[in-house]
Symmetry: C2
Subunit: 285 residues, 2 copies
């Protein structure tokens, strides 16, 4: 029998009113209501320090690699060019950190709506951003990613959308008009990579994202993994491009980042794009 | 903001005192203390009906396919022969059901220690066992799998261990002496497939299982997926055999079961055997 250790401080996220994931908490390092959301950093025995936004667990020291490597490297190892990269969201710095491990990246613009998230993460989750904040290739801007993408004249080889769930400040990042802006920004050969939710917890959201990307790019390539913190079994990201092939893996790019990877490698890249039968059938329509 | 719907009845499993997974419960269909464990069947809005043993969530109507297809089909589609199959545990019937979907299986012996689990599942989770209880190829025995494997003179082409976590009545199913019995029962060409826990929550258990299987069989081939109910991100199973190749997928066997599969297919089979980098490195030692 498991010991009934349920005493003391816990942080519990409730998914859709139907399931919950909780972490024992040994310390609340940060608690703030910013202009956009409630920001909390907690210390936990299970996953180390953890970031939560508006009650939703976002990233943890212990499993952030599973997420950040998978949102970045499939796009960065398969895109035709990777000199100019745009990261939208990703205030903890983990996504930009993985982008900038690629020596071929000359410039990474990171657009985060909430300066307070970056400040809380720099103060309390320094291991996630690592040296990214001092990298001269990083151009960090605090503005609305939806507005930026709609209005910019800049062009990027890869756009990575590291947003939270499609509620709260990230809502505008999910949907056709935003994707059309990204399509314009990456052109015919660029790549758009995004987290695309869990097909178990948010099945409709996952398939809606695929349908919208197919309308806008002509193709979407979901790929599969898992993130312990998200307590959803399977997690997905999606590679979208009008012309680029997600399985055109450039071995020299994989090699250049291999030593620092805990989850990703070239074989994981190819395996991740294999959909479970129920998803394959529904995507084939 | 998520709605704070935490009122009412919940079933919460606590992992190692450090994290928890909860399901909202609309009905408690069964609650019993058997000779071996506490057996509960609950109705939940998230996952349909759910079985719990000693406070640990075991299987659910909604996601049981992810688990049962993956514990059975990699072994049954790659083993040299599949006429005689032994299932140890698996009292809900889902594993034997998937085994018996293979037309090449002539006989499936299922050894479950706790008759009360089978009775509770037949009464309250009939969708999981399906028609398996009436299949003339099923030989259901209520006895201790550890003892049976140690003493039997029978030989099997495939042994599937569908046990719960290595505490409680399943404890003896994890470890070298049990594996040595299975090695004897399957011979040089047979295959042993088992659930091998999560490398996130129970990292040491996962690697201990691999080490013991390598000692006994000379090789172990873990494979990877996810089970929403287990709230552990990644879940693993392992294929062990002295000589059989887990990637020698027999296309005609995959084809024969394809229509009833919701998760598994030949591409998933091959992709599942790709380990994340941190596991590959540690297994390569």
């Amino acid at each position: 029998m498991p010991e009934p250790m349920t005493d003391g401080l816990w942080y519990t996220e409730v998914l859709d009113g139907k399931s919950s994931f909780g972490l024992r908490v040994t310390d609340v390092l940060h608690h703030e209501r910013s202009d956009f959301q409630t920001i909390e950093v907690l210390d936990t025995p299970m996953l180390g320090r953890v970031l939560a936004l508006d009650g939703i667990l976002q990233t943890s020291e212990r499993d952030e690699h599973w997420y950040h490597e998978m949102i970045v490297h499939p796009a960065l190892c398969a895109a035709p060019s990777i000199e100019r990269v745009l990261v939208i969201g990703g205030g903890d710095g983990g996504t930009a950190r993985e982008v900038l491990r690629h020596p071929g990246v000359k410039r990474c613009v990171m657009v985060e709506i909430d300066r307070a998230v970056v400040e809380a993460c720099r103060a309390h989750l320094p291991a996630i951003g690592g040296g990214v904040w001092d990298d001269p290739r990083l151009d960090l801007r605090f503005e609305d990613g939806v507005k930026m993408v709609a209005e910019t004249d800049e062009r990027f080889d890869v756009v990575v959308l590291d947003g939270s769930d499609p509620i709260g400040p990230s809502e505008g990042l999910f949907g056709r008009s935003f994707y059309e802006g990204v399509r314009r920004v990456v052109g015919d050969h660029g790549v758009f990579a995004l987290q695309s939710e869990s097909p178990t917890v948010y099945e409709d959201v996952f398939f809606d994202i695929q349908a919208a990307l197919r309308d806008v790019f002509g193709a979407s390539h979901p790929y599969f993994g898992s993130v312990y913190l998200y307590a959803a079994g399977m997690w997905t990201w999606t590679f979208a491009s009008a012309t680029a092939d997600p399985l055109d893996v450039k071995a020299e790019r994989v090699e250049a980042i291999a030593e620092g990877c805990r989850y990703y490698d070239g074989d994981i890249h190819r395996a991740a794009f294999v959909p479970p039968a129920f998803i394959r059938r529904r995507l084939e329509g």
